[in-house]
């Protein structure tokens, strides 16, 4: 196996875990090759709290030989150097006198100084700036570097970008397969769904995960509600408050309420301007609450603000084969601003999918 192949191999190993199994940790894969390029051991980070990829790889290699002094360890992310839930991997590498370590990308966590420690102990270190590893860990890097949750935007619109008609009716624009996909692949793979109190009222949404066979799973919800409108008595019967015993509702508001709150409701105080929430004001609070990856299901204002404030990371766009052709219908995006074409927001196309006649476009914000 060449170096390039070995790095690819570690990335593919890393992908054997799912984000739900490891979040907030990164995806990591590791492989140990002998001087002939043959695999001695391999592993990947399988679950939060469990051993790191390097540990699996080294243990497997040690079953074959106790001498790793001519071996090279390839790993998709810089080995850790601190005591977290497990002891530092850098120490393990040093202890077993591994000759060389090739790293696909550095760990942005300031506590991780694996490279320095390895070098200080005479181990040859090669760092590759592998984009695939960065994309794989986009959520982790965003959490670590930008100190904020990773935001995935979801839209379901007509061809002309309308998410509801002039009377705010939106049931249904996308087809049943698209809606099920959103439950199975989007709602199921995040820490919370972010929405606005207006959407909760208008859509009478329960914001749960339905598997299409009658089973309902809970998920956390974050509601932007500056004046805590939803906590008014008249809204106590909204579906969102029901069948929610294992999950939280986090209200983002401008001031703490004076009254006592039910146990599953959490208050986060944020700053608001004329356009809405200033997301940076709640970033660290949301991370502390374990909200590392958030899916938005909301109207134009919330999504437009996320994009305008450069905190949108990915988007899934379900395009139904229909046109409203009505300028009074609700658009999926658009705020009051004047943005020249030269300043457009750029995205990368990740995947194109069709679900019957709905088209699903999956983008990454650049």
């Amino acid at each position: 196996m060449t170096q390039k192949e070995a790095i690819e191999y570690t990335i593919n190993l890393a992908k054997k875990a799912t984000d739900n199994e490891i979040r907030p940790n990164p995806f990591v894969g590791a492989v140990i090759l002998d001087p002939e390029g043959q695999i001695m051991g391999e592993g990947f980070h399988q679950k939060i709290g469990g051993p790191h990829a390097e540990v699996f790889a080294i243990e497997q290699a040690l079953q074959k030989t106790t001498d790793l002094s001519r071996a090279t360890l390839y790993v998709s992310l810089e080995p850790c150097s601190h005591y977290g839930k497990t002891p530092p991997c850098a120490d393990l590498i040093i202890q077993h006198k591994i000759k060389k370590v090739v790293i696909a990308s550095l760990d942005p966590n300031p506590k991780v100084a694996g490279v320095e420690i390895l070098k200080a102990n005479g181990i040859e270190v090669v760092i590759i700036n592998e984009l695939k590893s960065k994309f794989l860990n986009a959520r982790f890097f965003t959490n670590q570097i930008k100190k904020r949750p990773y935001f995935i935007l979801k839209f379901a619109s007509t061809i002309d970008g309308k998410i509801a008609d002039y009377a705010k009716s939106s049931k249904w624009i996308s087809n049943a397969s698209s809606r099920q996909f959103a439950h199975d692949h989007l709602r199921s793979n995040v820490d919370a769904i972010l929405t606005s109190y207006k959407t909760v009222i208008e859509d009478q949404s329960s914001l749960t995960i339905r598997n299409g066979h009658g089973e309902i799973k809970e998920t956390n919800v974050i509601v932007i509600d500056k004046e805590l409108v939803l906590l008014q008595e008249q809204f106590a019967t909204l579906p969102i408050f029901y069948a929610r015993t294992k999950s939280k509702i986090i209200f983002i508001t401008s001031a703490a309420p004076a009254f006592q709150l039910p146990e599953n409701i959490t208050i986060v105080i944020g700053e608001f301007n004329e356009k809405g929430l200033v997301f940076s004001s709640v970033s660290s609070q949301l991370l502390e609450l374990g909200m590392y990856k958030i899916l938005t299901e909301a109207g134009s204002q919330l999504n437009s603000n996320l994009i305008d404030q450069c905190v949108a990371d990915e988007m899934y766009w379900f395009i139904a084969p229909s046109i409203l052709n009505d300028s009074s219908a609700l658009s999926m995006l658009g705020i009051n601003t004047t943005r020249a074409l030269g300043n457009k927001v750029s995205l990368s196309l990740i995947e194109v999918k069709t679900l019957e006649e709905d088209v699903v476009l999956h983008y990454r914000f650049k």
Copy 2:
């Protein structure tokens, strides 16, 4: 070959021609099978003025045997019964005593009464209502039944459906591959490009077909220009008027001009209402001018009107991986109306394509 297979076969034969070779004629394929289901002869309509599919098939079969009295002819469209540029196919079928004729779809042309004549002559006739044949000849059927040109809409927009920024700048939203695709596959395959005088001025467009290697081909242009603004002296230097020696510019206006016009300019008088042109008022005039298939490259108003008046037939939508997120930018669609979700315009998805990171969605209006 079964009947179903034979019909599929005729449709695939028909597709060997291109619309440019046969327009305004329909695509037609024909195959003759012996009682064992073996092919005796086949053919397709290859070019306008040339022999029909049935003629090719019968001639080929006659090379093998003069006795077609046990043979079945499968044809994707009802055989003609009138003298056009060629003699009637129905006569040929009767002359050669073909036993049975299976027709995928009837010809909407009232001059065509092939079925009646065949039956009157004792030939067994089976008519299948084959959707594939209807879709294949969508342009022909629209011309014949709706007595109007077939309209293909082209849009190039951002993800949020903007075709230009607030300052009307639109160069370039789609990428070079998308623009070349539009020249090679859209502009090259129609009788004219339809646009508005505003777009001609704003885009300074020449509306020619450029092959990407410096070669320029002409194509007809239809400009909606109620007041004949473009014929004012100040616009005489617009690119659209140059290098146009073999093609026409058709102006759709509300009244004939009093002044003399250059030879390559044609005037069509149409009715206008507060939203713009009433397309039905110019349908037959455009057909008479040989405008059977028209591509629109225009702004929101013209395209929205076509959709609102139910004269849009197909659309190609080039989606660039960018967002303007600006409600003052120009939208690709939208007129002043209130259309409930239940009355949405429905389309069928024909094809999804990616050109680098642009996505191209091809739809048929239902």
